[in-house]
Structure formats: structure tokens, C-alpha cells
Symmetry: D3
Subunit: 69 residues, 6 copies
């Protein structure tokens, strides 16, 4: 399956914080660099997301802002 | 200024493709790893975004999905 | 590949309107029911999106609002 | 009221999972086809969202990605 | 029609910048306070968006970030 | 720090509703005009968001829709 989302960053799940509806998933994408995702609890369960699992963080380009010092 | 957005990834602008309203900006965040952003042309001009400029890609956690093989 | 996005609706591309950065893609997901997507021109080209192609419209649950009469 | 959001898909609420802040609402938009929405609990209460209620799922075109096999 | 989107801010259109696919619309919501929206050109035409028109800017709560000095 | 997000509206926090993962924050941006944000609980804690605190609501232009009567 190919996706139109331009950003697919591989990493490993570090932690999962579970709520009733949403979960926060922290993914380490490089040593010391983490990406944080909030997805539904159902998706966490469907994909078997738990610490140690290899995933990719996927972001649509229009959701990415830029900052400059 | 502190922001609630959980993802702030530093990198260097590689290319800017300009449209009338939006621009596509490619940012290298690690050797061989690129993040693509679509922002308004006005923001590109306001921030002086051009190849070589150091920026941070900013993404709200609720905009980050996960995929698993 | 499994994705956390909860909405994946199959359909067939009806039209593609191209801009310099973004394209508008109309997908028929049921007789008379269309879903409209705006993605980058690069993605349209990478995925070979053109009228007649079978795709799935993918939407993160947190991007879906509800209305009621 | 007319809205700029290009996607407005009618359906019937199938289930509501309540959290403290957000709720997950499943809407059947065609036989066997469901759309999942995450909205605030306050909105669920304000709109009287519960199983059986007729709603429309609303999505901005820029939030719709495409996938292709 | 009632919508789940929690933010509906009334204002008057100040300017419309047209692209092939998207348009940038600037809305004055209070004296000196502007909100900027990027929507499809088709929506601009469908809603008759042009300077002087009264509209409301609509934003899903999950799209709103916070910053603090 | 300069950000590409086009909308930065100053206001004062009115209330914070806490969930396990997300919090709903209501910000008064003008007398009688409120903006509602849903951000992670971690961000609420990192930024010290509580009633009375001055913040800015930040929204990417592509997340802003328009409605018209």
C-alpha cells in the first residue's frame, strides 16, 4: 500500500499512555529524538502498539508547520 | 515562547516549491531523512524560508498517525 | 502495512485538478457520493493518481467533525 | 448555513464511547461502511449525539489523504 | 445545522488570494485582529466568498494549539 | 521564535478540563468570545496552563474553515 502522506518516519515505541478514548504514544526516531502521537485506543489495540514495537510516524505535509529562531 | 505542540524537529531547508497560495518546503532533519511541510507563501516570505536556513518542523501530536508492517 | 487512521473508504478517482503545489482529487465512494481530497502534486505523481484509478480515502478520526440538523 | 468543508457524509450514529474530554463516535454511512469521529464530550452533549441519531460526518478536504494498493 | 466544531468566530472578509486549487482568505474578527483561512477555490466560489462578506471562521478544538511567553 | 502558523490570538485561560491523555482548555480572547483548545495533558503541565494564565491560541491557516449564513 502506498500513501499520499509525505512523512513516514521509522522508529520504536518507547511508551504508551492510555486514556478511555485516546492514547499518547512516544516513538524514538533517532537517539534522543522522540515523536509524540495521539491516536485512538482502538488503533493502539488493533495495531498491537506497545513499547519496543517498530512503527512509522505518519504525518500529512499540510499538518507540518515551521519555526525559525 | 513555549508551544503546546509536542513535536519540534530541527533541520535545514533543502528546497522550496512556490505556488500562488501555498509552498512546499523540504527539510532535512537527519542525513537522508526529510520532512515535508506545506505552508502559506506568506509564511515562507515572513520567515525568510529558503534553502540552507535552519528551521524546526512543528507538528501537533494529534496530527501524527502510526503505521506498522 | 496497517495504519492507525480509522477511516479508509474505497473509491474511484473522478477528477484531478492540478496546482503548482497541491492538487484537488475527487473520489467517488458510492453512486453519487464523492469525497474530496487535497494532497501535494508530488503525491499525485508518486501514486499515479488519475481518473479511473482505485484508491482509498484515508482520514484520521480526530479530523472528522459531526453536524446535526 | 453553508460550510467550506467539502465533505459532508450523512449517516446514523452507531455507538458513542465517552472519555473525560473526548468521545469516539461511530457513524454508519452506508451498509457496512462506518466513519469514526473523535470530538469533545461537550460537543456530544451539545448536539445530543447518541446511537440512532442522524448526523453528517464533516471533513475538510485538506485532511483527506489517499492510499493506493 | 449545528456543528461539533467548538470554534465559530464571526467576522468580515478582508481579502481573497486565489490559487489554482486553494485560496487564502483573510477575515477580520475584531478591530485589528485577523484570522487567516486556506480553503479550496471551489469552496470560495460555492460560498461566494469575497471582500465584505460576513462569515464565521470555524476551527475544530483539536486543531488549536497554545503558546505561552 | 517565529512560527509559520498564521493565527496567534492572545487571551486568558478560563478553564481546564483534565483527561488522562488530553485536556480541554477554554481561552477568552475578547469579552464574551472564547476559543477552545484540546491539547495533551503533558503540554498543559509543561506550559503551566491554568485559569488566569495568558496564552495565545495558535492555529494553522489550513485548519480554518469558513461558514456563511
Amino acid at each position: 500500500m502506498k500513501v499520499s502522506a509525505r512523512n513516514l518516519i521509522p522508529g520504536k515505541v518507547v511508551s504508551v499512555t492510555k486514556g478511555d478514548v485516546n492514547c499518547e504514544v512516544v516513538v524514538e526516531v533517532a537517539p534522543g529524538v522522540e515523536v509524540v502521537s495521539v491516536i485512538t485506543r482502538t488503533s493502539v489495540e488493533n495495531l498491537g502498539i506497545e513499547p519496543g514495537v517498530e512503527v512509522r510516524a505518519m504525518v500529512k505535509a499540510s499538518s507540518v508547520m515551521l519555526t525559525r529562531e
